[in-house]
Amino acid sequence: MKKLSVLVIVVMLVVMPLSSCSSYKANEVVYVYNWGEYIDSSVNDMFEEETGIKVIYDEYDNNESMYATLKNGAAKYDVIFPSDYMISRLIEEDMVEPLNFDNIPNYQYIMDNFKGLEYDPENKYSVPYTWGIIGLLYNKEYVTETPTSWSALWDERYSGKTLMYNNSRDAIGLTLIKNNEDVNTTDTAVLDTAAEEVKTLKKNLQAFVSDEIFNLMESGSAYMTPAYGGDVITMMEENSDLGYVIPQEGTNLFVDAMCVVKGSENKEAAEKYINFLCREDIAALNREETCYSTPQQQVYEGLDEETKNELIAYPTDDILEKSQVYTNLPQETLDYYSSLWTNIKNS
């Protein structure tokens, strides 16, 4: 018994570290931090095969938690996929590297109307990955009256069946859109009103969600939710009872782009990765998998008519006119959002 246990221990001591060596020995590595469900599963393997650079891939579910992870320095990433307003914040706080576009020749295929946008006016720090608008996804089986306004989420007929995003910017922002207010307002009175309405919404909600949205809408557990373009299409494909509207008050237009974290030790590998994702076949794979609208010219031209006509993916000008883009807010407004959100969660 004694000899056996000693033998077992010795074997484990020897075998385990050896097997760990093979997975941690990396010639070149790139650490990628992306949204959940936001890439085709074969892309990382294809990148490794073609370049020999190993991809270590981790996921987050909203901009704020990505920011927190970067800020506390407990994890080191190279490539990140922040949204527009978060990019301006990262640039302001010097948390991203200027890109060497010589390493990203495929940048030429990004459509011009996605270059030089407000969050990165000189185009130094980011390469667009996806874009889209947010719509109201609902279950036609249970929601008998087609919704026309964001206020449908507050409708007590669907009490306990509606969802809302689990972060302050989206929850308060959507309420501001519903109220026909400026989504980037710093007016505390306007924000207070919106926050009170979110508190009311909370009583009507089934849950605050991020990626749980797929499960809950597809299984018919929840009937209504705000949802981003690509997710709307994905969920409609899984459950034919689902449909969407773009409410009359307008919507939020977003761009998610790829950046390199400041102080990255694998900057060149990171730029190669970004370049890879802009290549036509890879971008097409990702578009196919996530259903999000692509800023890549070649992929867009290759789409069929039906996809191009899908309003939630490629909105017409009248919708674009009513859409607002989030920008970075001054620190005191961000702090105010923080305390409002705590109050909402607390209520």
């Binding site: 909203n62 704020e64 938690s65 920011y67 927190a68 992870t69 800020k71 506390n72 306990g160 069946k161 689990n166 972060n167 909370k202 909600l205 089934q206 849950a207 605050f208 969600v209 299984s219 018919g220 557990s221 923080s338 305390s339 705590t342 969660k345 607390n346």
Partner: protein, 268 residues
Amino acid sequence: MKSRVIAVPYVIWSGIFIIVPTLFVGYFAFTDSNGTFTFENISKIGKYANVFGRSIVYAAVATVLCLIFGYLLAYFMAHLKEHQKSLCLVLLMLPMWINLVLRTQALQNILMDNGVINRLLGLLNIPSLKLLDTSFSVVLGLIYNYLPFMVLPIFTSLEKLDNKVIEAAQDLGANSVNVFTKITLPLSMPGVYSGIIMVFIPCLSTFVISEKLGGGKVYLIGNVINDMFNQNYNFNVGAAISLVMMLIMIITLVVFGFLDDETKEGIL
């Protein structure tokens, strides 16, 4: 055998990885992001007073319910025959070794609006109940996860009860109620105290259970701490809140006689 020096590696390890981190919690609690000393974080704790209150209430309710149902179970188990006892013990411990997140997910699936329970109710033509994303589901989740932690120490101390003491009492004319209140219950108290500590403290600090079963609507102190470190990026307030949490824990331990050696052994 008489060597004291072999304990030195541990003393050094505990210094670096137990004492220093605890001191860091204090350091971050009393400084701001630039490192200057401040009481600001402590003053911000006031905002979370009702979250603390809510967490204590949830933890207390879950603990009391675990105590009632758990004591009954331990009592009945202690009176089983030997082979039945060990079977029950194995069955009791098994769920504890299934991952916490999996167990909570399992419960979530049952409580969903179109989950098994509501489907059964539907068959009986009873309208479906809102079971998930409520205070009810969170408390249920707490009990579901931590009931075995209450049962085990109580069972152990009931087992240690010498039958002869009970027989002696019965010889002296005590009826079964008296036997229970005057002998069994008092002698099982160390187990009860261990159980209370082993359930109350994890319940107080949970964030997974409130997150998954509360639908983001039940905001407990564990969620606040998790947000501070993983979402809002405010280590200083997070550390301050953790300090208060540690204080509550110390008070609980003192109240439930942690200083009693038997309780200490019971925890293991």
